[in-house]
């Protein structure tokens, strides 16, 4: 599975119904691309989804401890739709997780729409979670306790919020 941060409220059925069948445009605006790429994190298998790499990478580079929303999709679906991917080192405070990062690359509007359809189907299956601040804190505290993330690698403001519960 591959996980990505989303804003689920953007993916809700629009109040003003569309007269077409595609993924509503508002949903697609939640998929912000950079250099025509979209960032994803490996998230275990369908039977055992593991969001650790995604949570630590995203929450560990933020400056506030806040809730975090993630959705995950099947890697096979991406292959099936022939969306080009590249294993690129991810931005994360966990050195060991860097290789768990995958970019969707060379995206044009048609490829982005295909990914939006895959994600939309995943959300219909409820392959999504909104983690509370406390859950996010627990992921970070566990990563620090295990030595996966050095506390010093977290942004200062976040370090203060997390360190009260942490024994490195």
């Amino acid at each position: 599975m591959l996980a990505r941060m989303i804003k689920r409220s953007r993916w809700e059925e629009p109040r003003d119904k569309l007269d077409c069948d595609g993924v509503p445009a508002d949903c697609i605006t939640d998929l912000k691309t950079t250099g025509n790429t979209l960032s994803l994190w490996k998230a275990g298998s369908k039977e055992a989804v593991d969001l650790t790499a995604a949570v630590v990478a995203i929450a560990g580079t933020r400056t506030r401890l806040d809730p975090l929303e993630l959705a995950w999709v099947e890697e096979d679906q991406i292959k099936k739709e022939k969306l080009p991917t590249a294993a690129t080192p991810g931005r994360t405070p966990a050195e060991a997780h860097r290789t768990l990062h995958v970019d969707l690359v060379r995206l044009d509007h048609a490829r982005l729409a295909k990914f939006a359809s895959i994600l939309s189907a995943a959300l219909a299956n409820e392959w999504h979670v909104k983690l509370t601040r406390e859950q996010v804190r627990n992921y970070l505290v566990t990563a620090i306790s295990k030595g996966t993330v050095p506390l010093a690698e977290l942004p200062k403001a976040l370090r203060d919020e997390v360190s009260s519960n942490t024994k490195e």
Binding site: R8, S9, E12, R15, I58, A59, R62, T63, R64, D66, P67, L68, E69, E126, H128, V129, K130, T132, R133, E134, Q135
Partner: protein, 224 residues
């Protein structure tokens, strides 16, 4: 700009009651299908000029969602709130329309909101009620409010915050309900947790999140 100002005749300004959960009756100088950018030069110039009630300028350039919020500010003219506070709120709304609140990062409107709250909590509270429930940047405003410490917010009438949370949780707007739950998660006060305990969200993912917030609050209060 002068001609535009006349667009907002007194009869065009909806009553406060009409703002409950996104009134569709707000007069729109722009068609629903407008594809104008969210922010453009005339709006920036109007803001820079800091005209206290420069609603006409922003109404001219802003898309539909922000217009509802701006109209709510126009409505505030009837209330006894200082021009400086109204003007600051106006800027906050514009800023939010330009750049929403991102989880995990501070927003430049947090500090100005805290400051005006400390200057005139009752006045700001009276304006925020309509703004939060109006279609537009309401959920982001509530998210900002949720980032303020309870002691700042409680400078306003105690029941005000409770009313805002209660009304937001029954809104049809998923984003507003989500922002209300996030605010309760941040504040973790008895009223908010009590309210959330009896709330059952129609969206399964939001319901799950709400139940988790309640569960964590219970664990923390047991540990205290």
């Amino acid at each position: 700009m002068g001609a535009e100002a006349q667009t907002w005749a007194a009869s065009d300004i909806p009553k406060a009651s009409e703002f409950t959960d996104a009134s569709a009756s707000i007069t729109q100088p722009y068609p629903k299908s407008s594809t104008r950018p969210r922010f453009d030069a005339p709006a920036l110039i109007a803001l820079a000029a800091a005209t206290v009630f420069s609603v006409a300028a922003t109404a001219h350039t802003a898309p539909r969602d922000i217009r509802a919020s701006q109209t709510a500010i126009v409505h505030c003219r009837r209330r006894q709130v200082s021009q400086q506070i109204t003007s600051t709120l106006h800027r906050i709304v514009d800023l939010l329309a330009y750049e929403g609140v991102q989880l995990g990062y501070s927003h430049p409107s947090e500090e100005p909101l805290r400051q005006i709250f400390e200057q005139d909590a009752a006045g700001v509270a009276s304006l925020l009620s309509d703004l939060i429930l109006a279609k537009g940047v309401g959920s982001d405003l509530l998210r900002l409010l949720g980032r303020l410490p309870l002691e700042s917010i409680n400078l306003a009438e105690a029941e005000w915050r409770q009313r805002v949370l209660a009304r937001s949780l029954i809104s049809k707007d998923t984003g507003l309900r989500e922002a209300a739950i996030e605010a309760i998660e941040n504040w973790r006060d008895a009223f908010g947790i009590g309210l959330l305990s009896s709330h059952h969200d129609p969206k399964p993912w939001l319901e799950k999140y709400a139940r988790q917030v309640v569960k964590e609050a219970a664990i923390i209060s047991e540990g205290a």
